[in-house]
């Protein structure tokens, strides 16, 4: 789900960088020192999730943990994702340097949305909620990839084997995998640490005590 350097047009990259900076300011605002370890650890988890490879035909796919990051971090999710991406770019050469903003938006915005959707459906059982968060995260990310590509050059959408069609095709299995993975993960988290629903919420509960 990463877009590399040079793929997108300059105006798109520049605009995305500005919006991403704004998103990060939102994500970091009001951050307390006690939030630091959780953000750091989830950034690391986000990074490491790309090592879970599930073979599929000639390639393999891996979960992205967009939904789960959103569920567990709430508004801080884009920050963790940005840090994870920065590390991936530096240590793996995954993604890109100039597209850090783009990639932060591609995964950070759906994470925010997934976290919000998860919290908003509190009355329903946790497995489908987690499934939904996972699915929403990947679909949102994929749509953003497609949007960025088509904004950059119409050539990316031409023909049956266009890049955009390929992106849609390869992300289809990830949607399902991520949905189930997030569902199972959310269920286990819910059973063992029910208070884990994002930093904001937890703080409110602490105050209420």
């Amino acid at each position: 789900m990463h877009i590399a350097d040079g793929v997108l047009g300059t105006p798109v990259v520049a605009a995305a960088a500005v919006v991403a900076a704004g998103t990060l300011v939102y994500a970091a605002r009001g951050m307390k020192s006690e939030d630091v370890p959780r953000v750091g650890l989830l950034a690391a988890a986000f990074f490491v999730s790309s090592l879970f490879r599930i073979p599929m035909g000639i390639t393999s796919v891996h979960p992205v943990l967009i939904g789960l990051t959103g569920v567990m971090l709430g508004r801080r999710a884009p920050l963790a994702i940005f840090l994870g991406l920065l590390l991936q770019a530096m240590l793996f050469g995954h993604g890109g340097l100039t597209t850090l903003g783009v990639n932060t938006l591609i995964m950070g915005l759906p994470a925010l949305f997934a976290g919000w959707a998860f919290a908003a459906t509190r009355r329903y059982p946790v497995l489908p909620r987690g499934f939904m968060a996972g699915v929403v995260g990947v679909i949102g990310g994929t749509l953003l990839v497609v949007a960025f590509l088509s904004l950059s050059s119409e050539m990316y959408s031409q023909g049956p084997f266009s890049l955009i069609n390929l992106v849609l095709l390869t992300h289809l299995p990830i949607v399902i995998i991520e949905g189930f993975l997030t569902g199972f993960a959310a269920r286990l988290l819910y059973r063992t640490r029910p208070e884990v629903l994002g930093i904001e919420e937890q703080r409110r509960e602490n105050r209420a005590e």
């Binding site: 020192s33 050539m155 993975l181």
Partner: protein
Amino acid sequence: MSTLHIQQEVDTYAGLDSWMHRWEPRLKIGAGLVFVVGVVLLQSPLLAAVALGIAVAAAVSSRLPLSFLITRWLWVLPFLAIMALSLSMGGGLGASGEGLTLAFLVSMKALTALTIMITLVGTQPLSALMNAFTQMRLPHLPVMALLLACRYLFCFRDELQVRQRAFAARAFQPKPNRRTVSVYGETTASMLLGALDRSEQVHRAMVARGFDGRLRTSPPRAINYTDLAKGVFSVASVTLLLLVDRGFPI
């Protein structure tokens, strides 16, 4: 699993000595960023190829072996190939010249950026790079989170490796089915659970040593004229490329 070894490779060439290794890390990061941004702005495929040449020259002159570069390229080459294939099909019939040109341009830019990145990261220890982040005027808490992420990444990776070995020892084979996903889901969750408990404990341990939200680091190495000259040189080279690209007669 080849990804697991990548990070160990990060420091492999960090101990060598070259103009890149001697360059003050903050300036080096800044100059590298400017260079990559400049290259991404290029429109001529030929000049993008020249930029790749410069990047490779920079990497080789900092004593990074070519084989090392190529193994890292192998990571993105399949994606670039798929893109080239898709673009060259154009409307679906035969190869389109325009599509091929775009694919070439994008590949050159992506490889240049990757090469610069590898050189930036590979020519000092990871710790020095992280230190450089702390010495720039960036917000303290996110930088602290980055340091922690960098540290716990290795913990997670090791844990994952142990778990995958334990899975393999019990003849588990990942397949695209519900069972694999449920095993991975619960592994992810239990690792995250451990991480959550740990994150609270990590915060306590930092507070116990007097952490109050401010990041205090060692004073950075002084920037000298050689550092500056290297910065000017790299910014000038990419500016020149851009000027030629935009048709200035030189």
